[in-house]
């Protein structure tokens, strides 16, 4: 029969509902409670309403059967308004974090909660691979990242935040020691990309572009790669060998690096394009140092210059007393290096400790190592007195607010004093350098901001010139390594799309559709964490301050596997573990209804008493799908109206529940989740592998969701026989054995039964077996030997087992375990 939906005519089968018809024809009608083949919900969601020509009131598409000539509208403003009201009521009753605050805070976009979960289960390589999806420099970033995530960690409301970065470093170190899997590279595209600068942004772009199959050449002005990681960060924070290893692992993917090639001297954009490169990524960093603005400033050595000399291994004399002016990372690093050179160090900074740009933790470490801070003070002049210097310093007070309301530190009259020093360093940060504009005609056309920084699109890193991208400190001014890494990845994605001729399809979902338990920590209701026993974070093992200033070796030693697992287990798993199946959020996005007024406090405790299923009623949208899908009466669900729009949900698993997990798979939110599925993921994330359940002879089809060599969960395809989506507890939940630490991992051998087993090589084991079989066959005849095969092995293996018996050993003594 023919019906019309939204002005389009369709031929549809008789007997089906409008909802099914629309779905078959690819027309979207929102629906949250419809469950094919089951009774309708006692509380219809009402979202599937449509208008039918000639009928005054909207009707529900899930319970309206198609009729010839039906003329339906699915998306009128009246319908949208009704749906908006329904959704807003649901929003007002919903409480949770779609995304964990740590993951949301990471500028690199790393799935932080996910890799912590992998670590907690001992899946270190899976954790590393998840990190490397977004950050190919975990060894380095794991050592130097200022940790945007940790201050957001909700565990602070219990005791202390999770040591997220230390965990990242742990898996990177673990893989360094135990070997890691080489990432998969897409087939060669034959396209060539030039990257200017082998710092974090350039290396990151090179990594992803290479994996996309492009041919990448990096042009680096220095003789080694790493950028600021190589030349500014002292060895005691990031040992040079670690960085070299990380760089090498990227180069090993097939990246070419040309060292000693300087942009503007050896090549420019035009010559690159002429040489056959189809895209260029500018990531030369920001190295121009600001100078001190006081008399005698030429006596002060720029900190970055000094750090670079140190990193180059040059011997530098700083004398007995050092004064450093500045409060950023370079200032603190310089101070700590000078301590290691045996100097007494005073660091002068015009504001308070909290306002220093360096990471507070690094400041504390510097103090432990004996650096003296002289805060709220500013230099007035530097004068040379023979071989020594004198720095005149005054205390500061804050000025009256200027026209923009900013209060600046100004010298307080009468507080001057003199610091004597052998060396004075200035660490005033970097500034933009527009010298590149003279490098060539294309360069001259690159747009810059008023501050002199090059302009690039923040989500694609594209510049105003076709085929040219830019990122990292070169664009943003001095920022952190992870920000540069993220810019490199964004550029790589955008360059890939450009080279493959595809338009970017926006997968970005605005955070306005994300529920959050509180954007700021002080908005988060603390009562939900009260029952969690306090367990402070694993202390990072570090070398004693007195000892460590005698050399330049690494200060922090890293976690052991046991410490890492313990630390990872502290994670509160904030991010919703139903995100990948959440139809509710999907409907909000499709209907454009943002989360403006969600529930502010949890109403229910999260329950973990079911052996396989967790229950968070704060996310239940009362669709009754779970109850309706259950064939066993495993769930009792009552909703009690308390008046004034307030309801109370009672959901209990009964003793009839057989733990099949069907309810979890149909639940359209994160209200029901699987205990074993602990890595949050987006819809469609992870590979789907069709296979067969390893248990009973029903031979159910299973769909294994895998990522980074770890099974995330097992479900079943509703279309495939023999089970058509059904699974039992063993099929859905009985897979974690594969990574049990009790697995047999080495051949075991003993000559006689009264001996103990020895672990041996495969060669030794198989040689032994073959020799004994030959001896038995020779001595007693083939009919004294037998093979028992398994109903738990594949057909191919069973076939080989009988072939082994018959063709190789020469006996029909072969049987299997079918009788058990």
């Amino acid at each position: 029969m023919e019906i019309t939906i939204d002005g389009q005519k369709f031929e549809v089968k008789e007997g089906i509902t409008l909802l099914e018809a629309a779905k078959q024809k690819g027309i979207y009608i929102p629906s949250l409670c419809h469950l094919p083949g089951r009774d309708p919900s006692p509380r219809p969601c009402g979202l599937c309403i449509v208008e039918i020509e000639g009928e005054p009131e909207p009707v529900r598409a899930c319970e309206t059967r198609v009729r010839p000539g039906l003329c339906v509208s699915t998306n009128t403003s009246r319908l949208k308004e009704i749906r908006r009201q329904i959704l807003e009521t649901l929003i007002g009753r919903h409480y949770g974090d779609c995304k964990a605050p740590c993951s949301a805070a990471c500028p690199g976009g790393i799935n932080v909660q996910g890799y912590i979960a992998h670590i907690a289960r001992g899946e270190f390589l899976a954790a590393l691979n998840l990190i490397k999806e977004k950050n190919p420099l975990p060894l380095s970033v794991g050592r130097v990242c200022p940790r945007f995530c940790e201050p957001r960690c909700r565990r602070v409301l219990v005791d202390q935040p999770i040591a997220i970065n230390a965990l990242k470093r742990f898996v990177a170190d673990w893989a360094l020691a135990h070997g890691e899997t080489i990432p998969e590279r897409l087939p060669e595209t034959g396209k060539r990309v030039a990257i200017i600068g082998a710092g974090p942004a350039g290396l990151s772009a090179a990594y992803y572009l290479t994996l996309y199959g492009h041919q990448v050449t990096i042009f680096e002005a220095e003789e080694e790669a790493g950028g600021m990681l190589r030349w500014a960060i002292p060895n005691f924070r990031l040992p040079v060998e670690i960085l070299k290893h990380e760089v090498q692992s990227i180069i090993n993917l097939g990246v070419k690096v040309k060292y000693g090639k300087r942009w503007g001297r050896d090549f420019n954009l035009k010559t690159l394009f002429e040489a056959g490169f189809e895209a260029a990524f500018l990531a030369v960093g920001s190295t121009k140092e600001r100078t001190l603005d006081v008399e005698g400033q030429e006596e002060a050595i720029p900190a970055l210059k000094f750090l670079k000399m140190i990193k180059k291994g040059q011997s530098v004399r700083v004398g007995e007393r050092v004064v450093i002016i500045g409060g950023g990372d370079a200032a603190i690093d310089t101070a700590r290096v000078c301590r290691r050179l045996g100097a007494e160090v005073t660091l002068i900074y015009p504001r308070s400790r909290m306002e220093m740009l360096a990471h507070q933790r690094e400041i504390r470490e510097a103090e432990k190592e004996g650096v003296t801070l002289f805060l709220m003070a500013t230099p007035l002049r530097i004068t040379r007195q023979g071989s020594r210097l004198e720095v005149e310093v005054a205390r500061t007070i804050l000025s009256e607010p200027d026209e923009r309301g900013v209060r600046r530190p100004i010298p307080m009259p009468g507080t001057q004093r003199i610091f004597k020093a052998d060396t004075v360093f200035s660490a005033m940060g970097q500034r933009a350098d527009t010298a590149f504009r003279s490098y060539g005609e294309l360069e001259a056309r690159l747009k810059t901001s008023p501050g002199g920084q090059i302009k690039a699109n923040p989500s694609t890193q594209a510049t105003n010139i076709k085929g040219v991208w830019a990122g990292g400190d070169f664009v943003s001014g001095p920022r952190t390594v992870i920000q540069a890494v993220a810019a490199g990845r964004r550029a790589a994605e955008s360059i890939n799309l450009y080279l493959c001729g595809t338009k970017k399809t926006s997968v970005f979902v605005s955070p306005r559709f994300n529920f959050s338990r509180g954007k700021r920590l002080d908005e988060v209701d603390v009562s939900q964490y009260q029952h969690i026993p306090s367990r402070p974070r694993e202390a990072m093992p570090e070398r004693d301050p007195e000892l460590r200033i005698t050399d330049c070796d690494e200060v922090e030693l890293g976690y052991t596997p046991e410490m890492a697992i313990r630390e990872a287990k502290r994670c509160l798993k904030c991010g919703c573990l139903g995100l990948h199946k959440c139809d509710f959020r999907e409907v909000l996005i499709k209907e454009g209804v943002s989360v403006t007024n969600p529930l502010k406090k949890p109403r229910y405790e999260i329950r973990e008493d079911h052996p396989f299923i967790n229950l968070d009623l704060n996310k239940c949208i009362r669709c009754f799908k779970c109850v309706r899908v259950c064939d066993y009466g495993g769930i009792e669900l009552d909703i009690i109206d308390l008046g004034e729009g307030i309801e109370e949900i009672h959901l209990e698993f009964t003793d009839k529940c057989v733990s099949c997990g069907s309810c979890v798979d149909v639940c359209p939110t994160g209200a029901l989740t699987k205990k074993a599925a602990v890595v949050p993921r987006a819809r469609g994330e992870g590979k789907k592998i069709n296979s067969v359940c390893p248990y009973c002879g029903t031979g159910c089809n299973i769909q294994i969701i895998v990522k980074s060599n770890a099974i995330l969960e097992i479900t079943a395809d509703a279309q495939r026989p023999p089970n058509y989506g059904s699974l039992c507890v063993k099929g859905r939940f009985g897979f974690t054995f594969y990574k049990s630490k009790d697995r047999l991992t080495k051949p075991l051998l003993r000559e006689e039964l009264d001996e103990a087993f020895r672990e041996v090589s495969w060669d030794e084991a198989l040689d032994f077996v073959a020799a004994r079989i030959k001896k038995i066959v020779h001595q007693y005849g083939p009919h004294t030997f037998g093979v028992l095969s398994s109903s738990r092995c594949t057909n191919e293996e069973n076939y080989l087992a009988q072939k082994l018996a018959r063709a190789i050993i020469g006996t029909n003594n072969v049987d299997n375990c079918a009788r058990v």
Partner: protein
Amino acid sequence: MLCGANPTEAHPVVGQKILHALKKGTKLIVIDPRKTYLAARADLWLSVRPGGNIPLLCGMLKVIIEEKLYNKDFINQFTEHFEALERYLATEWSVERIERLSGVPWVFIEQAARLYARAEKALILYGLGVTEHRGGTNGVICLANLTLACGHIGRAGTGIMPLRGQNNVQGACDQGTLPYTYPGYQPLTEDTLAKFEEAWGVKLPRQPGLMEEQMYEEALKGNFKGLYIIGYDVAQTQANIAHVWKALSRMELVVVQDIFFPLTGRFAHVVLPAASMLEKEGTVTNGERRIMRVRAAVSPPPEAWPDWKILCELSKRLGYEICYRSPRDIFEEMRFLMPIYAGASYERLDSSEICWPVPEEDHPGTKILYTNGFPRGKASFGIPRHWPPGEEPDKEYPLILITGRRLYHYNCGSMTTHSDGFLEVCPEECIEINPRDALALGIKDGDLVRIISRRGEIEAKAKLSNRVLPGQTFMAFHFKDRLTNILTSEAVDPKTYTPEYKITAVRIQPL
């Protein structure tokens, strides 16, 4: 009709499909000594005495014959020897004898027979409750007789189907890992042997092979010296394991391949680490003869190998190079040599599963067998003689122990006891006892008790349950610390050598 099977626990998705059918109005007969989940929901539950399948099923046949409920046309057209069966039932099986040996009142048997025979479509599903008896083969013959007599076969929704215990029981047998048949059920005839000799390029043995139980017998007599075991924990899951242990200890070489250290490892010289089903490629064939692809989702532990690779490497060392690069190569050889698999290919299996026989690439596969007669011509009714159980309860051992499976574990327990959550729900083996027996013995729920059979004794916690009738008890054998099979009977079906797991006479002592 569900006979000797508890799919709710052992084949849960089959159990669920039966529930769906019940909702739609399908009638269900359950033949089981225990009041299983489906027995409690059946239209008719025949609580047969353990060992009484043959009398009960003969009783049903008797009713069908006496009341002329059989399908005369079908019998005439497709079967032979019906009269012999008629005579046998009339002379051997009086109502009184049937009631006494089956423990089921005649009226119930009559009702079941009528329900089954009169149904437009009737399907029999059976499990180890039929086969794991001394009279296992004859029990199956009874079921076959029923389907033939009523013509309930060869049409959708009818037939007879064994519920296969493990995911590739069907496939293992299809590939000829049985002493009496070559792959694809090709009999050990000179023709078959010639075909395989040509393909494999070796002279093949003529001497018939031994079944597993016979191997143990021979070993104890000193005539059997070595066993190569793949993914099968015989020392835990065989019946009467003390006997198996003794036999294994007398061998000069025992090799096992497994994913966890099996109990059999205690009797082995070599234990080899294997990849699990989640870590390898290949095919399996389920109970519907559906050939399905297994795919590696993750890689095995670094030094664990898929079983096929181990066998290839071993073959090389035995002087026969079989160089398959992948399971696909092996499958190609199988197709070439097995007419029933010939039309299946990995390409076809990629998009859909196929039920064998599938003789050609363009053959759709065979979902229903015998739609048009039987391969041997006419199907023959069998004469199912009654084999009483190997042991009956007596004064000294007054209770019957039935073994079976539990929902939350699987066979030797290696996969479930190592997966999260399962030990939480079902942490240990226990013995289910009817509250009446428990009261008489002074046993409370949760008490540790000693269970003693003629062969040995073990301890386990008692669980009072009405699922078992008075006089009967129930245990599974999923745990290594409560070895139920120390107790189980030594009796076997004389034809298939299947042990009588279902009936052991035991005594229970409170501790």
